[in-house]
């Protein structure tokens, strides 16, 4: 091609101007804060030379200039486009903080909306990388309406294509609802913040001193608020993890999740599984030890690890196929269900259901967390979410009762009559209406009160209750579970069970949508 002609000159000049825009100086500014530029982030995410940028040369809308000039730059502070991640089509947008603080103007918003609509049309995942000062003040209500369009698009795509937000800088005010609406939120520690009202406003209104990190840093959102699902120390690791994460997800809600070739490196019958659950029912253990022995080697990807750690959620592979894992964690709060773990579990289950990811439940739950605080904060309402999510899910669902399965919590954790497809139990399982201590106290109240040595009698009765009632065999013999299995063969059992369920279809009554308790 001859590009020395006159018409090409303008073309080349523009290309060079764009290149200049990503000048070293601006990159250094980001780097000095421990951040990458939007372009560097895009390059890290996509396979080499596969990213195609769209609307690189758009310029900001003309606005009245009373409130400061709008920088005339290409792209209006956001890079959008598509490319291949691990060889699959993915759409993405990355806000560029070096241009007007990544603020969202009309054109900026239109670019994002355009790529969102494309992703939905193609049935491909979309990644949003946020690093923005918020709505562009100079553009006023127009920029606010831009946000509304973005939100509307996210909601329309919800449950159809996976939508993931990566917070790599500030996200404040209304902007936080864009990540909040998406399926998963990644954050980078120390360089990203999310809050509806910032520290300055908090100081003004409530006269409380709080730092950015304390108010809305990655750590806080990962541990306390549960807003951030995954956090990492730096942007490189955040993006690497995101790439790995994407490999578990299908492109849309019609497809099945992708598979990886099974290298048969995980043994199907593992006797180590017999040793994880301690003999003493009051002793804790790490349920992740069990997960890692059951699923393909190194395939477990935990989500929301730090939030409500009494319930473990995450993706894994079984013979190369993606599954979702929900497991009570006896190591934390004895694995009880509380408000946070219920909402965490419910949201994870709904994601799996929307994207055809079968669910494996590992159950060791002493019940719901008692207490005034929990009751007054609505454990009834929040616990119902978990119940609703499990029951509503039509993907293959398998439960393994490892140890405790008491009362309401037993029902909630994907019990067979709640639509669980297969229910297995280990010989260590204790299935009953309540734990031995509580049950004995109620059933033998009189005897205990009259006894000369109530402690000794109680100990004896508890042992009797454990032997006679709190075991998996009654449930097995009456069909409430399918089989009591040797822990060693767990992996083998669930592989064959999920295989049997691979064509599962459940006809649900037509409706606009259920009314999930929120």
């Amino acid at each position: 091609m001859d590009i020395s002609g006159k018409s090409y000159k303008a073309f080349i000049a523009r290309q060079e101007a764009l290149k200049k825009q990503y000048s070293q100086k601006q990159a250094e500014k980001q780097h000095s804060k421990g951040k990458l530029t939007a372009l560097e982030r895009i390059r890290l995410l996509f396979d080499t030379d596969t990213f195609e940028e769209i609307d690189a040369f758009v310029t900001p809308a003309n606005q009245p200039v009373e409130f400061g000039k709008v920088e005339r730059s290409f792209g209006d502070g956001v890079i959008v486009g598509h490319g291949k991640v691990n060889g699959r089509l993915v759409f993405a947008y990355a806000q560029d903080f070096t241009i007007m603080g990544g603020s969202l103007g009309v054109v900026h918003a239109k670019k994002i909306a355009k790529i969102q609509e494309m992703a939905l049309k193609m049935g491909s995942p979309i990644i949003g990388m946020m690093d923005s000062g918020g709505a562009r003040i100079q553009e006023g209500v127009a920029s606010l309406s831009g946000y509304a369009t973005i939100f509307q698009n996210i909601i329309h795509s919800s449950g159809i294509i996976p939508q993931i937000s990566v917070i790599m800088g500030p996200a404040a005010g209304g902007a936080v609802y864009s990540p909040a609406l998406t399926d998963f939120v990644f954050m980078t520690s120390h360089t990203s913040y999310m809050f509806v009202t910032g520290p300055n406003v908090v100081k003004e209104v409530l006269n409380e001193d709080v730092t950015f990190d304390q108010l809305g840093g990655a750590e806080i959102h990962a541990r306390k608020s549960g807003v951030a699902n995954m956090i990492y120390d730096d942007e490189e690791n955040t993006i690497l993890a995101l790439k790995k994460f994407l490999s578990y997800l299908p492109s849309n809600n019609v497809e099945n999740p992708p598979t990886v070739a099974d290298d048969n490196s995980t043994i199907d019958v593992n006797e180590k599984l017999r040793d994880v659950v301690p003999d003493d029912p009051n002793k804790a253990y790490d349920v992740k030890d069990i997960i890692n022995l059951i699923v393909d080697k190194n395939s477990f990807f935990e989500t929301s690890e730090l939030f409500a750690a009494n319930l473990v959620t995450g993706f894994a592979r079984l013979k190369g196929k993606t599954i979702g894992v929900v497991a009570n964690q006896p190591k934390v709060l004895a694995g009880v269900l509380d408000i946070d773990s219920s909402t965490k579990g419910a949201r994870f289950i709904r994601f799996c259901d929307a994207f055809n990811i079968p669910i494996l439940t590992l159950e060791d739950v002493p019940g719901f967390l008692p207490g005034v605080d929990q009751e007054h904060s609505g454990i009834i309402r929040h616990g119902a979410k978990m119940l609703f999510a499990y029951s509503e899910a039509t993907v293959p669902k398998i439960t393994i009762i490892l140890r405790k399965a008491y009362g309401g919590a037993f029902i909630v954790m994907n019990s067979k009559n709640l639509g669980g497809d297969f229910s297995f139990a280990w010989p260590t399982a204790e299935i009953a209406v309540m734990g031995p201590d509580g049950a004995v106290a109620i059933l033998y109240r009189k005897e205990l009160a009259e006894s000369k040595n109530p402690a000794e009698l109680k100990k004896e009765l508890v042992k009797k209750y454990r032997d006679k009632i709190a075991n998996p065999f009654i449930a097995d013999e009456s069909g409430y579970i399918d089989e009591v299995i040797d822990p060693a063969v767990t992996r083998k059992k669930i592989i064959s069970a999920f295989n049997a369920l691979s064509n599962k279809w459940v006809k649900v009554p037509a409706r606009k949508h259920g009314n999930m308790p929120l």
Partner: protein, 501 residues
């Protein structure tokens, strides 16, 4: 011999230590299996095992007096050896043994009680003209009284728990204005640890050496000493390394201190093995601190230089025999050092680091003695102490002992938990340690870095980390995700999924 069967009311290395000697003496042993360590190594040394692993109460069985007595009666033992820690210095327990016609291998309940209570011990020491740091006459009830006495004897002073040990309930007060706060802390700590809030005050001896004398007495009133041990290498009053003899003593001072140690032991009609602890200041004045009425962790270094099996002597004395040698027969031969290799994270302030011992390699050599209660595959459990092994190294003199110790430390290899090995490796290279001029303040004042890493270690760590990172990323990128597979649905499913909308 009357004693034919012993119950070991203890676990870990000391249980094994006792059972080894018992076996040589043709005495049967009974060990207790617990729920916490049902497969512990010490069980394999016992002739009989009492299985208590069904008992899952929080309090270790080794602290449960009634239970231990019941086990002893059930197993028909003649004697109980308490080891160290747990019930070893519990006068009530010793009394209970006697009530149940079981021999308690240790001193009389009376001696345990008198020496266990530091205010009483002080009074006995004063009555017997044992040199003592000046201090309060008895327990102190409140901070005002404490401040008054402290101003009389002059700061710095040390507050000690009357029934304590091991550094708990102990506080050094350097200024009058700190007294109120530290007094309350010490008293509360003492109450929590020993169920007794009483404390007393002593003049604090700055930068002393910790010198203790091994005592052996029999029921016929013979008491001798087996020389000293130096335990100045401590961290917050926890001993880390002990040696015998001490380079701070010459034979004259040894004789003088030994005489005092024997004198206080005789004052309470002491029998069995015991330890009299002194502080030695820089002017070579020494002060009686306390007496430990049990076998000590560091008894091994005394055994190494005297050739006397202290556990055997304990059992023989408990059996009513008299000591077969006298003071003149005791010769200190060579030098011995003991390193307490614990599962602790030196870099995290010696925080316990319990876990499974994935690999354990301990050196063997005529100069090396290892006392351990674990092997590859064992676990260091959080409910007990964090000891992995005691490494005892001998040499013909101190220099050779340190040299041998250095070599031995390099041969120890433990995988699975963090250990105090890097600390000892640092210590044996320290000039002040080699010179022997260190005091109990050594760790705080003279040691800049608590762990040793060789020249190449950091480089190697960086290299390994890089290798790991690269490998991880390679592995990540080598996962061949097959996205096509997800699109191939059975017509049954595809049809239904599409028709859903």
């Amino acid at each position: 011999m009357k004693i034919k069967k012993i119950l070991i009311a203890n676990r870990g290395e000391i249980a094994i230590r006792i059972m080894k000697t018992a076996r040589l003496m043709k005495i049967r042993t009974v060990a207790v299996r617990t729920a916490v360590e049902p497969n512990a190594m010490y069980l394999s040394y016992a002739d009989e095992i009492f299985d208590n692993s069904e008992d899952i109460s929080e309090i270790p069985v080794f602290l449960d007096i009634d239970k231990i007595i019941a086990i002893a009666l059930n197993k028909g033992v003649d004697a109980i050896h308490p080891g160290y820690g747990f019930l070893a210095e519990n006068a009530y327990f010793a009394d209970k043994c006697i009530d149940n016609k079981i021999v308690f291998i240790g001193p009389s309940p009376d001696a345990i009680y008198k020496m266990g209570n530091k205010t009483i011990a002080r009074k006995i020491a004063i009555a017997n003209k044992i040199p003592l740091a000046i201090g309060s006459d008895g327990n102190i009830s409140n901070e005002d009284e404490a401040a008054e006495i402290a101003s009389k004897i002059g700061y710095p002073v040390i507050i000690k728990a009357a029934s304590g040990g091991g550094g708990r309930g102990m506080r050094i007060v350097r200024k009058a204005e700190e007294m109120e706060r530290l007094f309350n802390i010490a008293s509360k700590e003492a109450e929590k640890a020993f169920n007794d809030p009483s404390v007393f005050i002593e003049k604090y001896i700055e930068n002393p050496k910790h010198i203790e004398f091994q005592i052996l007495g029999d029921t016929r009133g013979n008491v001798i000493h087996l020389g000293e041990r130096e335990c100045s290498i401590q961290r917050k009053h926890q001993k880390l390394l002990e040696e015998a003899p001490s380079c701070a003593l010459d034979s004259r001072l040894r004789e003088e201190m030994g005489m005092m140690a024997v004198r206080i032991a005789k004052a309470v009609n002491y029998y069995s093995a015991g330890t009299v602890e002194f502080l030695l200041d820089s002017d070579r004045n020494f002060y009686f601190m306390e007496m430990n009425t049990r076998i000590q962790v560091e008894h091994t270094v005394t055994e190494a230089v005297t050739g006397i099996d202290l556990i055997e002597q304990q059992i023989r004395i408990a059996n009513g025999e008299s000591i077969k040698f006298n003071q003149g027969d005791i010769k200190l031969n060579g030098w011995a050092i003991e390193c307490r290799i614990n599962a602790e994270n030196v870099q995290a302030g010696f925080a316990p680091d319990p876990g499974k011992i994935e690999y354990l390699n301990l050196p063997s050599d005529p100069n090396i003695r290892i006392d351990t209660g674990v092997q590859t595959g064992s676990s260091i459990v959080a409910s007990y102490d964090s000891m992995i092994a005691k490494l005892i190294v001998r040499g013909k003199d101190r220099r050779e002992a340190i040299k041998n110790c250095k070599m031995a430390l390099d041969k120890v290899w433990i995988k699975g938990t963090k250990t105090t090995l890097p600390f000892f490796r640092m210590l044996v290279r320290n000039q002040k340690f080699q010179d022997g001029t260190f005091t109990t303040a050594f760790l705080e004042k003279d040691l800049d870095k608590y762990y040793f890493n060789s020249e190449y270690e950091e480089m190697l760590a960086a290299w390994l980390a890089t290798k790991l990172f690269v490998e991880e990323n390679l592995e990540e990128s080598s996962i061949n995700v097959d996205f096509k597979n997800g699109k191939e649905l059975s017509p049954w499913l595809l049809n239904k999924r599409i028709n859903q909308f």
